[in-house]
Symmetry: C2
Subunit: 481 residues, 2 copies
């Protein structure tokens, strides 16, 4: 490593020294996001927004495959509508932004900027729905929402964030439940197959569920520092909102019924998960399917005759294979600087090509995830690189899964849980009686929370290790973002 | 026409009787949009949103082809930022929505919901830009904006609407001017080649330009009722904002400079243009490139053996050709009902297939734009339909252009202009001295406005027909939405 390169990497704090600072440094150095003059409102810069665009493209395709259509509902919601569902308003009213004036006029009724759109959407559904023939309603919207959070953090908790929210209506509870789980399955697919982040899927406790939901399901990921990140949720809202908003339809027997209802969402928070589940002390490591640039070509001694021509030829060959390629032929920076820049930015594969390589009909190919370098013939380089991208995608998932497994442990007492959470945080598996008192105790004593009651239940004993009563569920506990 | 069909069409008011009511009826019957509980905030329903998605896809591709990247800037702008550019704040402050409370707290400074994002974007650009090496900045964002309009109208004027806004910085005035015109060119391409709506391109008068711009360029379309619709604008902002926000960089000679600046946008208003430039008394007529459904297949006597199988086979064949196809095999409605439904929804091509057709290896193909029906062999139906869609796209443009030309006339006096605007409104071509007094007179006497000083100037005389002074420009005048 040249001196220049060492200095460069130094600017990122080591994650072992200060994980929070490492996270902030990576975000700042890789130019994903910036703070705006309004606290908690961030700017998504081109590289950060490109990550969101790729997530959108994947999800939007899966939503449409499963019969959903996109719609757009208003940004502003009258206070009276927000107040209609009791639990919902209690959950959200303290953290909404209020519009009180339009132009120079004071409004007769305050309007809140949507913190989520159940209320305005249900109001419209109540106007539209007439007959069972129109069901199911399978709608999604891409939008930004505002929640006036006290503490904010890039990607993880903004006062304004970009997300999608699905809102569906169904004839039966069972259909709504199937939809809820189907969408959770798509979020799992997004996380595991696209972002290469393994997740625990399961149900939230009563305490942790969405304000107004019958049940909330979640995908929970583990970050490098052993903290969990709730990465997507899908809610079976049953008839809570459809009754509050008096949404009715004539069923197959001509009887008036309230439909069953779901909602589900993921947000730009997922980008925070990618940073903290894959990144290292050199910066980002992006899974190939997500990466805006999958391959960067760095020409060596680019002034020599033929180098840039060959580099451009290589770019065309890789692009013809459907690979997202950047050729960095800028003259202002040395190859060494470029190596570091694109390592920091997490570009999965770097291809170096110089006069000697061209003479030997080879290129040097470097993997970002393992930092391994290997020489390949130019003859079938498109196949090689394309195969390598697939390999990296799978390897990154496996590595993250191994890491999660190393940080997952079983605990049999509150003391053990507390000790683990302090010394080597991660996912604690334990039994639970199901009572809120025990759940509160976990939060009070170590600010950890029940992340979920996983679908894959394990039998870890008969009693709740906190109160000694009969255990109902196996749960995952963790400190969380 | 069966009785059932006649009744159906009756629900849309004839445009000759009441154009405004026709417009509202078409929108309501085709389920594009609905009113929300907040005045001027509308819901884009699936069919309406699908039109916007297709416009987005086209434009986003063209933006990226021309080197632009997407970003996302905050929804809320501090009052002090909005106030920084004098003309801008005068133009927008009277029509913004103000956020005064976050949660239960009153804010120290009011925040407005962006009516457009020049101010917040310039504030960030002033933090980011350091050297000429980083220029140009070529950024775009897809977002919703809020303007507290007094009068609102579906698609044409909402208090909240979806749009894109490009914001670029350049080293020289000339580069900024080239960018401004390049993006106007892309809007022209969108309108003429994608939406099949011919437009006049040109420059806005000083009075009509964007608040804070040096010059505003526009594409102006003509609707069936002879009113013009401003369909997209591109602004050369010169250094107005970059000076107000103190955006500087070190130029090639190490000297501190203010960059040159452009912004440009189109919105969901374009959907209003499509309705009013192409629609007829049966409803929408969608150009094939825009249409969410390009071909609807309606099976006849669908209970007969083999009909649905053949219809599905046909669907697959057309989809393999890249055509967006819907097969409507619902049992609740008759073929006659379906014919009308998809005619109303503007689906460019209908294919009817029944037992007799199958026996003869043919289908009946109907064009929405001309209402012509023709029988074609099933043998190369994909080629036929694909070619027909291309033909319809071109024919619709030509028809709209002919109609516009019929409604375009030259006037030589204020009286003539006034008479024309009252008896047969359309685009009036005339000479103009360039003075605001004459421009004001046009507005006062007939609420028409100068739509633009077109790039394609014609010589219609030497004097301004209003004041008799020497003419500077040829202009287009019209009543406008």
């Amino acid at each position: 490593m040249s001196k220049e390169n060492k200095d460069f990497v130094k600017e990122i704090t080591k994650m072992e020294d200060d994980f929070a600072q490492w996270y902030t440094d990576v975000i700042r150095k890789t130019d994903l996001i910036d703070y705006s003059p309004v606290k908690g409102f961030l700017v998504l810069k081109p590289y950060g927004y490109a990550l969101w665009e790729n997530i959108q493209k994947f999800l939007d395709g899966r939503f449409k495959d499963t019969g959903h259509e996109n719609v757009y509902f208003p940004l502003l919601i009258p206070e009276s509508l927000l107040n209609k569902e009791k639990e919902h308003v209690e959950g959200f009213a303290p953290e909404v932004a209020w519009v009180t004036h339009g132009g120079n006029e004071e409004l007769a009724e305050r309007l809140c900027i949507r913190p989520t759109s159940e209320t305005i959407i249900c109001e419209m559904y109540s106007k539209w729905l007439k007959s069972y023939r129109e069901l199911p309603y399978l709608y999604n919207q891409w939008a930004s929402v505002v929640r006036w959070e006290k503490e904010t953090r890039p990607f993880l908790r903004h006062r304004e964030f970009l997300w999608q929210e699905g809102h569906t209506l169904h004839e039966t509870y069972e259909e709504a439940q199937n939809e809820t789980l189907q969408m959770l399955g798509i979020y799992r697919e997004l996380s595991e197959e696209f972002l290469a982040i393994p997740v625990i899927t399961g149900k939230k406790s009563e305490k942790e569920k969405f304000a107004g939901a019958e049940s909330t399901y979640t995908i929970e990921a583990l970050m490098h520092d052993g903290k969990a990140l709730q990465s997507g949720t899908s809610h079976n809202l049953s008839q809570h909102f459809t009754k509050a908003f008096d949404i009715t339809y004539l069923d197959r027997n001509g009887k008036l019924q309230h439909p069953y209802h779901t909602s589900w969402g993921v947000s730009t928070r997922l980008i925070g998960a990618v940073i903290m589940a894959h990144g290292d002390n050199r910066g980002l490591i992006l899974p190939p399917r997500l990466a805006p640039i999958q391959v960067v070509i760095v020409p060596i001694m680019q002034k020599k005759a033929g180098v840039l021509e060959k580099a451009n030829e290589l770019k065309n060959i890789l692009e013809a294979k459907g690979i997202r390629v950047k050729l960095d032929d800028s003259k202002n920076y040395s190859p060494g600087w470029k190596f570091n820049e694109y390592e920091m930015k997490g570009v999965p594969v770097r291809v170096e090509i110089g006069p000697r390589d061209i003479q030997n009909n080879v290129v040097m190919v470097a993997r970002r995830d393992t930092l391994e370098k290997e020489t390949y013939s130019l003859d079938n380089i498109d196949e090689i690189v394309s195969g390598l991208l697939d390999t990296i995608q799978v390897d990154m998932f496996n590595k993250a899964k191994e890491e999660r497994e190393k940080k997952t442990f079983t605990v049999n007492s509150l003391e053990e849980l507390k000790e683990k959470m302090e010394t080597s945080p991660g996912f604690a598996k334990m039994m639970w009686c199901g009572d809120k008192e025990c759940e509160d105790k976990i939060k009070e004593e170590m600010s950890a929370t029940i992340r979920c009651i996983p679908f894959e239940q394990e039998d870890l004993g008969d009693t709740c290790p906190i109160c000694g009563k009969k255990a109902k569920h196996m749960i995952y506990v963790a400190k969380a973002y």
